[in-house]
């Protein structure tokens, strides 16, 4: 953000004043349990460059208009996975969504991701999500002595699970899943993606165990292949495909 600002300022104040600012309305779902029990929409009209991101707009609102607006963000560059939110009815990362791409002529709705308890404004309780993640044992499990050097793996073996290593745990997929909305006991796409990452890793030896966990009532068989998760993933992971691969591994016991 600062670099783009520096650039326009470098051109001199006159040119910077002519920057293509537009007036956009942000309709944000506000919830503060200390003030009201019900969530409500609140409109903010701001002057902003449409080439900026939704996160910049939220910053502008928080820093210049209403300091009580609450949301999570850490890196602001699409890697930490903190700022997944429902923008114009679709789960996206606020830091990867340009305002010009989501039609700023109409009010842009911003709300918390669905299916998790809203704590305040755009902040949800991520604990159910992370519990599901922990339940699939997202760590390398091996037997025998530690090798004295790194565990080598062929390029093909690495390629097998490359797609699912890209997950940043933003919960955009899990909170777009209608099965998860209705029953939070379902593991959810993100947990299955991270199980997939280890099940298909040639160095890992607990694939059977993870498959057993996902074979249960709340596991992969609850997936209805609606592809919401694939559409929602800001990293472009083919989530539904990964879930189907876990299903196939469960049936054929080959992975």
């Amino acid at each position: 953000m600062t670099t783009t600002l520096d650039k326009t300022e470098g051109l001199g104040p006159a040119v910077a004043g002519a920057a293509p600012y537009i007036t956009a309305t942000f309709r944000i779902r506000r919830f503060n349990p200390e003030v009201a029990e019900e969530a409500a929409w609140e409109d903010f009209e701001i002057e902003i460059d449409p080439k900026e991101r939704v996160l910049d707009a939220l910053h502008k609102i928080k820093w210049e208009m209403d300091g009580t607006l609450t949301f999570r963000r850490s890196c602001a560059h699409g890697i930490c996975g903190s700022d997944a939110m429902r923008i114009n009815g679709r789960n996206r990362l606020a830091c990867k969504t340009l305002i010009k791409d989501i039609n700023p002529e109409k009010p842009i709705t911003v709300e918390a991701i669905k299916g998790l308890t809203v704590l305040k404004d755009l902040v949800v309780d991520m604990e159910p999500f992370f519990q599901a993640y922990r339940d699939v044992m997202p760590f390398l499990v091996t037997t025998g002595n530690e090798p004295t050097r790194e565990r080598l793996q062929s390029a093909e073996d690495r390629e097998r699970f490359d797609d699912t290593t890209k997950c940043i745990l933003c919960a955009a997929c899990t909170s777009s899943c209608p099965v998860f909305w209705n029953d939070g006991q379902y593991f959810g796409p993100a947990a299955i993606v991270n199980a997939h990452r280890f099940i298909f890793d040639s160095r890992d030896e607990a694939g059977e165990q993870r498959l057993e966990i996902l074979n249960d009532r709340d596991g992969v068989w609850r997936c209805r292949t609606t592809f919401n998760c694939t559409d929602a993933c800001p990293r472009g992971i083919e989530v539904t495909k990964a879930i189907q691969e876990v299903k196939r591994a469960l049936i054929t016991r080959r992975f």
Partner: protein
């Protein structure tokens, strides 16, 4: 201040109040005494596989059935007691109808079971809806099977 809010917030009672602003949050994927133990069976897997395989068979069976009943030979007007009796005289059509009955009922029942599992919010509702479903399924399958096997064209 934030520490105090946090500590009272986690012990929370029911609704929001000044001392306990946030509503009580259900523990995630909670393992309580009432949580059913992990089943360690392949039931869900076989259920899923059954849906796929029976679906393929049902496409043939049901479309064939509809074609014979509604399209060929004058359509629906030709269906009468005699028409049914004539068809069930052959073991082939008996088997066709029997397999179709069982597959369609089990396929539909399993589909409804997953829908109930997905959408029923309370355990009690879920249980009774499923009981209703199972009763209706068993009744229909048994009745249909009985009719196919004991059909007497001379009544």
């Amino acid at each position: 201040m934030s520490d105090a809010t946090l500590s009272t917030g986690s012990t929370g009672s029911t609704g929001p109040s000044v001392e306990n602003p946030a509503p009580l949050i259900e523990p995630p994927r909670a393992r309580t005494g009432k949580t059913p133990k992990s089943t360690r069976t392949n039931f869900e897997m076989y259920g899923w596989l059954f849906m796929r395989l029976s679906g393929i068979l049902l496409v043939v069976l049901v479309l064939g059935h509809l074609l014979i009943q509604l399209v060929l030979d004058g359509g629906v007007t030709k269906i009468s007691f005699a028409f049914v009796a004539g068809r069930w005289a052959s073991p082939f059509w008996q088997a066709w109808d029997l397999i179709m009955l069982w597959l369609a009922m089990l396929h539909g029942a399993n589909g409804l079971r997953t829908i109930i599992n997905d959408y029923a919010e309370r355990d009690n509702t879920r249980f009774w809806l499923k009981m209703l479903l199972y009763t209706a399924t068993v009744f229909t399958i048994l009745l249909g099977t009985l009719v196919i096997f004991t059909f007497d064209p001379n009544i």
